[in-house]
Symmetry: C2
Subunit: 261 residues, 2 copies
């Protein structure tokens, strides 16, 4: 029997990025994870702050942020430049051989500009494919890839892309060659029955319970795309998915949400 | 006899970076260079523009730019983010498998914060070492590394570093395993006898001629660190160095300066 090696993928959200000491602690914990690993990071508030400081007005349609050309420049600078390189330098200081990537680098993640019938999202990309052979080569050479949420269309256009989706697509692609555990880390201890009660963590959720909670409107709307992503990833070969606070990575907490089929 | 493979290293300056159509043409030409290759890019005027637009005042001591913490944030965003990812995406569109790096990525270029007896340059790094084995692994996997002028100290600190020096240090490191041709591309057709006369290109310069021209003050002061870098690189194993306009890369011009020992 062909036994696959394991890999841990961790996605961290903006709340960790925005908190210098929390990020430092997280990166130290992440460095201690044994074996192959990948980090995917969101953006935090710096891009919005920078956009405001240079006079850009956030464009929103139906509550969705629109990435126009000026905003794309800002997110590329902040996500692929400032945040990504700061994380890489800190991981290197922790003796983790991190290498920071956008999807354009090595054509690691190719996407296409979103073509929506009624909303022009601007320079937003939906993932089309992952360059798995190159990613595997990097990982097998001891590299720890650190992805920001920028991809490209292979025609010279960079595109803003959802970080949760990037983590999910990387997990699916890598599940061809690895047993993948995907960890979504955020400020809450897991998926909650009651969004205002951190002690109401759903410890296990499967498609049946998910359908039931959705029907009862008992799932916070922000959690729905995250969980859709998770079930999609599990159905496509990802072994294990956890949602919770990043403390779960070092077994500092036993409370988190386990997503299962 | 052990015959080394060849590699071409190209450094481009700010004038190309600042000119959208010139950069596009250059990247198309660069993509046509056969065999292994590496690109090193400077910064251009975007970092200064961005610094001004967020209210930073450039700090200068004795005509030298000082990189304080706020300016470092800006150069990291612009060099490693905006410029580097734009170049990588354009090269990918030209079917060149580019991957963009700061020195922190994969610990490819480690530096130390400059310690000057009288001037505090701020977050400026002098190159200490290149991770040649990893760089060679990437290149042998068909990757075309694209370096911006940011390095790190392996203690978590990013550092602003001279792009000419990065090109030179990469050339020296790679000369252990490759026959290296290093091309410094800028807006002039080469090193000039008369800085105001583009037809006065010095076609060949060796240490004797260089010493003579320096003694006669016939070399533009801005060219001196560049040439010092060149002779240093040649004495440490780099095979061939050319200085000129980027047209020289595609033999569109036969005029450039050849640096020789």
């Amino acid at each position: 029997m062909d036994i696959k090696k394991t890999i841990t993928i961790v996605k961290i959200g903006g709340n960790i990025i925005d908190d210098v000491s929390e990020l430092k602690q997280f990166l130290s914990d992440f460095s201690k994870i044994e074996g192959a690993k990948v980090l995917v990071h969101g953006g935090g508030k710096s891009a919005t702050k920078m956009a405001k400081s240079i006079g850009l007005v956030p464009q929103m349609i139906d509550g969705r942020r629109i990435t126009d050309a000026a905003m794309l420049k800002v997110v590329v600078m902040i996500y692929a430049g400032q945040i990504n390189k700061d994380i890489v330098a800190q991981l290197q200081a922790n003796n983790t051989n991190a290498m920071g990537f956008s999807g354009a680098d090595g054509n690691l993640i190719q996407s296409e500009k979103r073509n929506h019938p009624t909303i022009d999202y601007g320079f937003v990309g939906d993932v089309q494919g992952v360059n798995t052979p190159l990613l595997e080569t990097l990982i097998s050479n001891g590299i720890v890839p650190v992805f920001c949420a920028i991809t490209h269309d292979k025609q010279g256009q960079l595109l803003n892309t959802n970080a949760d989706t990037i983590a999910s697509e990387l997990a699916i692609a890598l599940s061809e060659v690895f047993e993948v555990t995907l960890n979504y880390c955020f400020e809450k201890p897991g998926v909650l029955f009651d969004a205002d009660d951190n002690s109401s963590v759903i410890e296990n959720i499967n498609p049946e319970l998910y359908a039931k909670l959705k029907a009862e409107k008992a799932i916070h709307s922000g959690m729905i795309p995250k969980l859709d992503n998770c079930f999609n990833s599990l159905s496509k070969g990802v072994q294990k998915i956890k949602i919770g606070h990043h403390r779960m990575l070092q077994d500092k907490t036993e409370i988190y949400t386990n997503i299962e089929l």
